[in-house]
Symmetry: C2
Subunit: 312 residues, 2 copies
């Protein structure tokens, strides 16, 4: 409707004057911020950076940006953050802090904020989520240990309010029963947080209980690292005295002494899927709530071997 040349000159002038469309004004009018909130317990847990990268790359392609916050496993902080994010009118939320029964998440859902859980799922409420196949993963670890000849197997679980911890705990018990391995619940202990200190503490607890075992299935690589330390401190050796498996295959566990047998989870891919899933729900709030389950892969390294004798 206007001459080609004029149109060009206008565009040119606009850019040369440094014009940029203002997303704030756009957002005010359309009620959309093109912003997504990502809530993790603690970014220094090495499982989260790859997830975050997967999320970011996917959101970016769709014109969205992510705002990130750490809850430090503190419900009060989580509430503050979630409030702040909703206050900032995020278009959606990706939550890695959810408990199996999480009132904060339920609240977001009630407010119709599009939301996807990552590495967690909820019992109720049909909440979309992206998780790895915990039961299959832990069963693979058990298979491996059983094949090596282990029968007295201990487990350091995460907090059972977390779906991953819960699924691994019960998955392990189910797998043991399926293979006819005696389940001795005095060899099962739950940590408070997935970190090295807790691994150290829980391993000591297991040893102090005085029930013999030859292997520990840890629900997280960092817990396994804590076990290494306690064993060393007590003059025990892995894998000679105790075999250990971890979970997640975080960086550098392949270079520990011994290298850790663990389950590799496709963290980046999980981030990508979570972001995709969220974008779907932002586009259509009533899209069916998908639960995406990704496969894990057992990586056998030096921390597992045939049992020598039962401990302690």
């Amino acid at each position: 409707m206007v001459s080609e040349e004029i149109a060009l000159r206008v565009t040119e002038a606009a850019t040369s004057l440094g014009y940029r469309p203002n997303p704030i004004a756009y957002g005010l009018r359309t009620n959309r911020s093109f912003t997504v909130g990502v809530l993790v317990p603690d970014l220094t847990n090495p499982v989260f950076p790859p997830i975050m990268r997967g999320i970011e790359i996917t959101l970016e392609a769709a014109g969205y940006t992510a705002i990130l916050a750490n809850s430090d496993n503190d419900a009060a902080r989580e509430r503050t953050i979630l409030d702040a994010m909703r206050g900032r009118r995020v278009d959606g939320l990706i939550v890695a802090t959810a408990h199996r029964d999480d009132p904060l998440v339920a609240e977001c859902l009630a407010e119709e904020t599009p939301l996807v859980l990552i590495n967690r799922k909820m019992e109720q409420g049909n909440v979309p989520s992206v998780v790895n196949d915990d039961a299959a993963g832990i069963a693979a670890a058990l298979d491996h240990l059983a094949a090596l000849g282990h029968t007295r197997i201990a487990h350091i679980a995460g907090p059972l309010t977390l779906s991953t911890a819960h699924a691994r705990y019960h998955g392990l018990i189910a797998a043991m029963k399926a293979r006819g391995i005696a389940v001795d619940e005095t060899l099962f202990v739950c940590c408070e947080i997935f970190n090295v200190d807790e691994g150290r503490r829980c391993c000591a607890l297991l040893l102090d209980r005085g029930r013999p075992f030859t292997a520990i299935v840890a629900a997280h690589d960092l817990l396994a690292v804590g076990c290494y330390e306690t064993l060393t401190a007590r003059g025990l050796s892995c894998p000679r005295d105790v075999s250990i498996t971890g979970y997640n295959d975080i960086p550098l566990v392949d270079r520990l002494n011994p290298p850790l047998t663990t389950l590799r989870t496709p963290l980046h891919e999980m981030g990508v899927e979570a972001a995709r899933c969220l974008l779907e729900r932002i586009a259509d709030a009533h899209a069916p709530a998908r639960e995406i389950v990704v496969a894990t892969e057992l990586v056998v390294r030096g921390s597992t071997a045939a049992p020598r004798a039962a401990l302690p």
Copy 2:
């Protein structure tokens, strides 16, 4: 001016109706977004999560939130991201990707976007920055090696366009000269990126050059890990054949085989300082550009020992 009771009832009604002040509208009016852009090369590099946490906790206390993006060391991506962030009207920028001479940063500065560099500084332009004391850190590593009796010392540097790499490279040379240690520049090699693969490659390169050395000063822990691998692959042992030092003390390097001697940098604290510095500049764009230098601490572990014989 209005009765206490009415005021209370109004506030009550507001919250019960789910009223939240809309920061988008606020931002449109005031031209402030209370948002800060954080640009890192790669969040899966373990130095960045603690920095990010320090930034976040500080910004949060001031009512700001961070949006995070990874450039993957790609100038084109960096430009896109920076444009997007400025387009989103971030109130300021924290940049961990800057080169010593960085036109993109210069451009942001020219547009008067408040900006702080972290773990990087620029040669020109009086840009506020938070860095560790690279020269002192690398000198501490050298002192330690020299005290053990090393005189043939190799260096795997980072890309010299980065201020950290540059400062460590020249700091090492200066320290060697100061201690009367011969500087053989054929024992100095620069990597492209701070990661394990590059460490592996550069260590192989050093060995292939055929000049004898008994120690490697690596400019980053991940490079040191790469050295471990190449040495192992060639049937050499650390520290028996070659001592190695890293930089940053990232998680798990204390549990490698052998545990890595390295320089601990207070990453969280650096993040806090960077955010504080940025908030200052947001409050007053003409505040003096501070350059904050934090101290590092040498952590001696098993990867360094007295030299046995010169290599190869």
